[in-house]
């Protein structure tokens, strides 16, 4: 009996894929096209009058210093979240690997934060760090730190980075753990016999072999920092103070929904989309080459 790899039916594949394509079209392509269309208009919030203004929205954005500052803020934010997220979870995964007793408990507990919604995570950390009420804030004041993230932009950025990273650590942890399992023990044992210290073993064997996972997580973390952290920012600092935590995606929401500036907001969305597409292309074409499989 011959095993056939080729699928026989002519129409079944399309039918099976149709629901996913429908969702992608309705929830991704259609809004993207509409955003693109809106970015060329200036219209009143109620949609009663709109005028076609070519690239004026884009020109206004480029001249807006706050928008350019938002770029910088987003870069700092996503770098901080991705770097600390990956570093901390890698450390935790390596340590969890070595533990023999109670390993399952550690691993289970370390995974739980991922189940928390970003907005809830934001509120949790905001409470802990709240200037007048929070426990951590209390201890900081005791140590002499003047903690008020409503006024101090650096402190606000620290708060949102902590809240955003905390959530993502579990996700990274899971992947790193799986990645570590796939490294052949024989390699590590051979290195140990040759006299390599644990640190040496890690950097020369484990880390390079983990590179597919690390690369994948880098992409995921950057996209997470760009978009999924909206809930964290909205629940804690709302982009303040003085725009210190106003990342690009939050500015899109603020200008469009709260400010009723649909044209400017749509233009920002288009630019954001272009950035992420560009980032993904760059990462897959160039960084992928350095990954050792």
């Amino acid at each position: 009996m011959e095993k056939r790899v080729v699928f026989q039916s002519r129409w079944l594949p399309y039918v099976l894929v149709a629901p996913q394509i429908a969702i992608t079209v309705i929830f991704f392509f259609w809004p993207a096209v509409q955003a693109g269309y809106f970015s060329f208009l200036v219209q009143d919030p109620f949609g009663q009058s709109s005028s076609f203004v070519w690239f004026q929205n884009f020109r206004d954005l480029v001249r807006d210093t706050n928008y350019l500052e938002s770029f910088q803020t987003t870069a700092v934010f996503s770098l901080a979240v991705a770097a600390s997220g990956i570093a901390i979870s890698l450390l935790l995964a390596v340590m969890a690997e070595r533990v023999v007793r109670g390993a399952t408990i550690y691993k289970t507990l370390l995974i739980w934060p991922y189940a928390v919604a970003p907005a809830v995570a934001g509120v949790l950390w905001a409470f802990l760090f709240a200037p007048s009420l929070g426990i951590v804030a209390y201890w900081l004041e005791r140590l002499g730190v003047n903690w008020n993230y409503n006024v101090n932009g650096g402190q606000a950025m620290l708060l949102v980075v902590i809240a955003a990273t905390w959530k993502q650590i579990s996700y990274n942890f899971l992947f790193f753990l799986a990645g570590l399992q796939s490294i052949p023990r024989s390699l590590l044992e051979a290195a140990a016999i040759d006299g390599a210290s644990p640190l040496r073993r890690f950097w020369t064997i484990v880390f390079p072999l983990l590179s597919p996972t690390t690369f994948f997580l880098l992409v995921i973390n950057v996209v997470y920092a760009f978009f999924d952290t909206f809930g964290v920012i909205d629940a804690t600092t709302e982009g303040g103070p003085a725009g210190a935590t106003q990342i690009l995606v939050y500015k899109v929401y603020f200008d469009g929904v709260k400010g009723s500036d649909l044209g400017g907001s749509a233009a920002q969305s288009v630019i954001l989309m272009a950035i992420v597409i560009g980032l993904t292309v760059v990462q897959f074409r160039f960084v992928e080459k350095k990954v050792q499989y």
Binding site: V42, D44, P45, Q48, L133, K258, G259, S260, D261, G263
Partner: protein
């Protein structure tokens, strides 16, 4: 047998149908907690008083959230009949000509009595067009007032029955409070509303040209005068000494006062409900301080809060119901009930008189401060209110610049100049979109 059952079922169905169809009126609002309960109470009272219309209040989130929801709903054809919009959304709503039905027109078409002069000056002034027609129905209006922690005042050797009248006295009291060990002497809620918008009106200086935007879309901000710089520089200076602790852009300052952390507070008159419930010290309410070297100060303060707008595209029958509901809400007893329960000001003179007569202010003098401050003098072009397009964004810009001063990043003059520049950009965009 089955036939009998079917007949019985049909009969009971027919009996279940209402004798005459009630017209439902959807009312989207942003009153949460105890305020929301009061809103439901008002709607139930109205519904019980007549059979033709049923007002259905729906809590749709905060003011910006419900306004956004209504705009989106309007675009989709499902707007509510009545929408509660906060004062900063007034310009946006007014410019949306087809999307709203002006209240004066609604009441006239429905033959319901409606007299703009029955409303307190600053209240009606805010919501009328340059011709004097009221475009929205005032509902919950507040104004900022000054709160002091009387216990802390006594500890500092200050007389708690003599709160500071001027900002000079305020600074002197602040120093005494600090000397007596009170680390934080002042905090505020709604920084732009208190220290820019009301500050300007209280000193009879303009916030923007063209009567603060009421007389034309080509208005420009004027909030970087030496007087404004003086005020914001004072706050920045206090912030540097950590005597002024900034808590956030909305009503977060209230919590710092109620907890006893800060001894003085500027906040909405509506904050009295929470302070009364939660403060464990004696507290007092007084009028906002002013700079006594400014001619014309104190003038009168302007309102905050929200009003009710009627959305377009509904049936005439529904509009009759809305008009009847508005007449119901204007009754002095209803107004008095709403005012005493919530801390918002009574919006008609009749309601104010009724509350006075009932001896309410003798028992709670703090509740009258807001009204006295609003009616201090007849409003001028600078103190009728404001009407800036996209002011949600505009206020956010002002607050961002104020935060830069409070955190020491900018000096007051640069921040206010930037606020004017960025604010004007937003105004020009609104003007272009609504030509």
């Amino acid at each position: 047998m089955i036939r009998k059952i079917l007949v019985a079922a049909a009969a009971s169905l027919a009996a279940a149908l209402p004798v005459h169809a009630q017209t439902e009126i959807q009312w989207w609002h942003s009153m949460d907690g105890a305020l929301g309960d009061k809103v439901n109470e008002l709607a139930n009272k109205f519904n019980a008083s007549q059979k033709d219309y049923k007002v259905v209040p729906v809590f749709k989130g905060t003011y910006p959230e419900s306004m956004t929801a209504a705009i989106a709903a309007y675009r989709a054809g499902n707007a509510p009949h009545i929408l509660q919009v906060f004062e900063v959304g007034t310009a946006t709503m007014m410019a949306a000509k087809g999307a709203i039905v002006p209240v004066y027109k609604l009441m006239k078409d429905a033959d319901e009595p409606f007299n703009p002069k029955a409303y307190l000056g600053p209240v009606s002034g805010y919501y009328t067009d340059p011709k004097g027609n009221m475009l929205s129905f005032p509902f919950n209006s507040s104004t900022p007032v000054f709160y002091i922690n009387k216990d802390e005042f006594r500890k500092a050797g200050l007389d708690p029955s003599k709160p500071p009248k001027t900002w000079k006295e305020f600074l002197a009291d602040a120093d005494k409070l600090k000397a007596s060990g009170q680390a934080c002497v002042y905090t505020t809620s709604w920084p732009s509303w208190v220290h820019i918008e009301n500050f300007s009106a209280w000193h009879n200086v303009p916030i923007g040209t063209k009567e603060n935007g009421m007389a034309g879309l080509d208005t420009e901000f004027k909030i970087n005068t030496p007087l404004h710089v003086r005020q914001i520089a004072m706050l920045g200076d206090l912030a540097k000494k950590n005597m002024f602790r900034y808590a956030g852009r909305t009503n977060q300052g209230g919590a710092k006062f109620t907890s006893g952390e800060c001894a003085m507070l500027t906040d909405s008159t509506g904050a009295q409900a929470n302070i009364g419930r939660d403060a464990k010290f004696e507290w007092g309410v007084s009028e906002l301080p002013y700079w006594d070297d400014v001619k014309g100060a104190p003038q009168n303060s302007i309102i905050g809060g929200a009003s009710l707008w009627v959305m377009g595209g509904k049936t005439n029958n529904a509009y009759k119901g809305v008009a009847k509901f508005f007449s119901f809400l204007s009754r002095p007893e209803i107004q008095m009930d709403w005012h005493t329960a919530t801390g918002y000001v009574p919006i008609t003179t009749a309601a104010y008189e009724l509350t006075k007569k009932s001896g309410y202010y003798a028992k709670y003098p703090g509740r009258e401060v807001a009204i006295k401050q609003l009616m201090n003098k007849p409003p001028t072009a600078n103190s009728k209110g404001l009407r800036f397009g996209n002011f949600v964004q505009g206020r956010a810009v002002i607050e961002e610049e104020l935060e830069a001063v409070f955190s020491g990043k900018k000096d007051a003059k640069t921040a206010l100049d930037d606020a004017v520049r960025r604010g004007d950009e937003i105004l020009r965009k609104f003007e272009a979109a609504n030509k």
